[in-house]
Amino acid sequence: MTAPLKVAMLALNSPGYQSLALGYLRAYAQADDRLKGRVGFQTLDLTIDDDAWWVAYRVIGLEPDVLAVSVFCWGARATYDVCRIVKQALPDVRIVLGGPEVGPIAADVLLAHPEVDAVVRGEGEAAFADVLDLARRGKPFSRADGVTARDASGAPLAAPDRPLIADLDSIPSPYLTGVLEPREGSAYIETFRGCPHECAYCFEGKGYGRIRSFGRERVEAEIAYLAGECGVRQFSFIDAVFNLTPGRLEWLTGVLAPYAARGLTLHTIEVDIERIDDDAAALLRRAGVLSVETGPQSVGKVALATCRRKFDSERFAAGVAALKGQGILVETDLIAGLPGDTAEDFLGGVAYCLSLDPGKIQTSTLHVLPGTRLYVEADELGLRFDSEPPHEIVATGDIGFADLRRLEARSIYIARLHAARIEGE
């Protein structure tokens, strides 16, 4: 009998987060009849603060046949370091990457990183299961749709795109299958994939193009498992827009409210704030929501138009007021360096957010992420950015390098001035 294929699954998360992606990938692969009893999994859910050599030590100790890594922009550099070290120590290991940082630029990743054997493009569950089946049978990974691997000469070879999974419920729940143990404060639930907006700087929709939802029964079961059975008191939703539709918000509130009444709280969920009125704010409160994260990202007309982002200052302000009326902390986000924004536009955005007196103002510089329209159109938009992850903006046509850094430093100070105050005493 052939020895099972040993698969190490790695994610380097921001501290305080756990990888839902690894949970999905493993749960899906474990349920695949081709792999049952033939593949053994080990998950290393670590953080970007972990030293690359120590992470490599952990991986190498597992002696995997396949190392699979979920890669986001913030952990990409460390991921490449780990992969390089692991490949030197274990030349026969086959390294497969996936995730939003690498999927949209799969061929470029393979060209730049000889230690990587394949990159899964886009939605990963089905493609990854195919890759493991091919690995088990000693076949080239390029036979899996949705995967870019290497040909005999080592050059990138892209298999055809893979259609999206039509029925998301065919992906076993990582929580309900016991693959992913929810951690207090860092667990996430996903109720749908995609995003109704098409903001040019954002890849939360991951290019899926349309909204696909998990079944209500499954979502309810996950909530019951986390909040009921596991007794998790605080988790969040990974959905790009929590208040996707009024009906959905009402349904989710109905599911969450009994747990919220017993102490469940939800933090930093993302909302479309311009669609929040007093009733929606009250629903969010009943659902246990204590804080939300929202835009406006910019108030500059040119940047908003270039990024195809809608913004109505009055409706936005009304949404903030409604949430504050329910005691929900609102985190308003602004991005410095969007195409078309001047320094004054950005500072105007800071002033606008301050005028609303939200719970928190969060500013950051633009990251030109693979897969986004800004990444594709950077040259024509005059965007200069670091080609290495996390792809931070260097200069725009309207703001030079030094002024971008100044805006970043100044806005952090202003946010601090805003946050330092007596609250609830």
Binding site: A402, D403, R405, R406, Y413, R416, L417, A420, R421, I422
Partner: protein
């Protein structure tokens, strides 16, 4: 942006360079007199208790309480910082409601600072005081903002970049350079150097509207947190 209105707690001045001018004698206002000023500041984002050293006010707790009663949630103290090192003061003002410190810094190290304020030991005391305040905030889980106020005179001017570095090392959130009077022609270049030093040491440096600033550095020319961020009035005397 955010405006903290100055509320003087007496006649006199915050600690400055004694080589430029001797410190005037301090005389403190009553809580009732300060409360009148607080009424006038109604609607502002916050207030800063300034003028002579607020920790020497005989009724500082009552003054802070008056700020809170007037509805202010952002209360700042402009101080030499030394009194914060006295046991209980740092946590005391924090818990009383002070969330902002404006700490006067006149030298890149303790010896120079002490020499300029003509009071031995004040630099070390200020360092210890700011550290105690920040530690108390961390312990209580409260967000505070600590800004270094650097009076720019012909004595501090050449040393500004080094002062900025020392403030970065000490954990200040920002450095504000404030005008004290006429400066030599090279001032604009040295002030720009101080701003650039802040950028590479990850600390924001801003200037009041009266200091000369190179046009390339115009974004540093707004003193956030002050009552008139577009054209700060310089030193409160």
């Amino acid at each position: 942006m955010i405006q903290c209105v100055p509320i003087v707690v007496g006649t006199g001045a915050a600690v400055g360079c004694t080589r430029c001018a001797p410190m005037p004698e301090a005389k403190y206002l009553s809580v009732a007199e300060i409360a009148v000023s607080l009424k006038g500041a109604c609607g502002a984002d916050g207030v800063v208790l300034t003028g002579p050293e607020p920790f020497s006010h005989p009724e500082l707790p009552a003054v802070i309480a008056a700020c809170r009663e007037a509805g202010f949630t952002r209360i700042a103290l402009e101080t030499d910082g030394g009194a914060l090192a006295v046991h209980g003061n740092a946590s005391g003002v924090l818990r009383a409601g002070v969330r902002h410190l404006w700490v006067r810094v006149l030298g890149a190290d303790d010896i120079v600072h002490d020499e300029r304020v003509a009071r031995p030991g004040r630099g070390a005391a200020a360092r210890a005081g700011v550290a105690a305040y920040s530690a108390a905030a961390r312990e209580d889980g409260r967000t505070v903002c600590v800004t270094a106020i650097v009076p720019v005179c012909r004595h501090t001017l050449p040393e500004l970049p080094a002062i900025v570095v020392s403030c970065a090392v000490r954990g200040f959130d920002a450095v504000r350079l404030v005008s004290t009077g006429p400066l030599p022609e090279v001032a604009g270049v040295l002030i720009a150097a101080a701003c650039d030093t802040g950028m590479v040491n990850r600390i924001w440096v801003c200037t009041d509207g009266l200091l000369p600033l190179l046009s390339s550095h115009y974004l540093h020319g707004v003193a956030d947190g002050t009552a008139d961020s577009a054209a700060d009035g310089g030193e409160v005397q």
